[in-house]
């Protein structure tokens, strides 16, 4: 790959600019769907973009008592983590820009970077809502991360490779959702936990702790965090669709399947009441992890018997 195409892939397509815009579009679709589920009109199509433009144009207030360097760099790290993850994933139904054996694990860790940065950003400030929010964010990270990873490892095990493109190729021929329904559900719900969507929005529950870890953020920092979340939404949906829903071999399949998943996410968001953080943790460790683990073990045993 020449330097020019590499730069193109990083900055413009499929990484970089396009994925940011698609992330915003997906955010809009999510908000619109939730609004319609609630019999409301919902935002117009450019609303998330307008929000981001407004935030980017605003002054960033660095509050007293924070480490200014961390305060400014954390959003950048969060966004770059999400963008880097996008390079290893078959977004838009195209082959991943970069691929190596074991990139699945790297991608999952890169996706966690956003949450980690959010937690650190909250812990960096003196705001009491931020501190509680940071604690909750990190608590939640530790509860969904293990089952989410296990749910993604299921298809990897079936495909016999930890390379995303290989798993996607394997998943393209068969709907793994039928063979591993538990894994699919856990992955999807795990994605909701990752993105702090209701009912897993305890870390940013506005009626308790205002905006959680990001309470002190305004302007550019908040914009970058939100962009990162949009990218993560697309990347996460791509992973689940590619692994469990018969692959995303072409752009049409990609958009159809990810948007269908988004519809399910929006439905769950509007139908479930927010869980308390202890309930979230309990749910994941008592049910999510155990179920994912059981399925994982069954897969290993079945693989061993078949071999």
């Amino acid at each position: 790959m020449s330097t020019l195409t590499a730069l193109m892939a990083l900055l413009f397509f499929p990484g970089g600019l396009i994925i940011l815009l698609v992330g915003l579009a997906y955010e809009w679709a999510d908000r619109k769907l939730v609004a319609r589920f609630q019999n409301r009109i919902g935002p117009r199509w450019f609303q998330p973009l307008a929000d981001i433009v407004k935030l980017l144009a605003k002054e960033e207030v660095v509050p007293q008592g924070v480490h200014p360097g961390l305060f400014v760099t954390l959003p950048v790290i969060a966004l770059s983590g999400a963008l880097t993850a996008a390079l290893y994933v078959p977004v838009f139904g195209l082959a991943p820009s970069y691929s190596f054996s074991g990139d699945l694990i790297v991608t999952v860790y890169l996706l966690s970077l956003l949450t980690l940065c959010t937690g650190l950003a909250g812990a960096n400030t003196l705001n009491r809502f931020s501190l509680i929010g940071a604690t909750r964010t990190l608590t939640q990270l530790f509860s969904y991360e293990a089952p989410f990873l296990l749910a993604l490892l299921g298809p990897a095990l079936a495909a016999g490779s930890w390379r995303i493109s290989a798993i996607a190729d394997y998943g393209a021929d068969r709907w793994l959702i039928l063979a591993q329904p538990v894994g699919f559900v856990v992955a999807l719900i795990g994605l909701m936990g990752k993105l702090e969507l209701p009912p897993f929005d305890a870390p940013e529950a506005e009626t308790e702790i205002v905006a959680g870890a990001l309470t002190e953020y305004s302007g550019r920092g908040l914009a970058l965090f939100r962009l990162g979340k949009g990218v993560e939404l697309v990347v996460g949906l791509t992973l689940v669709a590619a692994f469990y829903l018969g692959g995303v071999a072409n752009p049409i399949a990609f958009f159809a399947k990810t948007l269908a998943l988004l519809g399910v996410l929006a439905g769950l968001q509007s139908l479930l009441a927010r869980l308390r953080i202890d309930q979230t943790v309990g749910l994941w460790w008592r049910y999510g992890t155990i179920l994912a683990l059981v399925q994982f073990l069954i897969l290993i045993v079945w693989k061993g018997l078949a071999a």
């Binding site: 609004a35 319609r36 589920f37 609630q38 019999n39 409301r40 009109i41 919902g42 439905g267 509007s270 139908l271 479930l272």
Partner: protein
């Protein structure tokens, strides 16, 4: 114990048109009894000033220029009005009513909120300063 008990509402919401009113573009029909801007009918007014006395918001001034000739100017502060219709209930002659069609009363200039009812030359006389604005009202 059930989960997602509101699924039917959610599906309905998806198909039905949104409940949100598209207000500035589409105006809902106001009910007949809606209390909008106050209107004064000078025909039977005796200038007793009970409306002004009972008004909890002091939105009404009855300015008597000549009681015998029934020359009254009815000054109404739309911005102060709380639309309680006490004046309508207080008026024994029934010369006050609240219009159900005039309810978009916002204005950018405070002067727009000051409404004068009465014969033209009387209003001009009042505006020219016959009794000063905010002068004590006649009983």
């Amino acid at each position: 114990m059930k989960v997602m008990t509101m699924w039917r509402d959610a599906l309905d919401g998806l198909v039905k048109s949104p409940a949100t009113q598209r207000y500035p573009f589409v105006r809902a029909v106001a009910p007949d009894r809606l209390r909008g801007q106050l209107h004064w009918n000078p025909e039977s007014c005796t200038g007793c000033g009970l409306c002004a006395k009972d008004c909890p918001a002091e939105a009404i001034e009855v300015i008597v220029l000549d009681k015998k000739a029934k020359r009254f100017v009815f000054r109404y502060h739309v911005d102060r009005c709380t639309f309680c219709a006490q004046c309508v209930a207080s008026c024994r002659q029934g010369c006050l009513e609240m219009a159900s069609d005039a309810w978009e009363l916002a204005a950018t200039d405070k002067d727009d909120f000051l409404v004068h009812y009465g014969a033209e030359e009387d209003v001009e006389a009042v505006l020219a300063g016959a009794p000063a604005a905010d002068a004590p009202v006649a009983e």
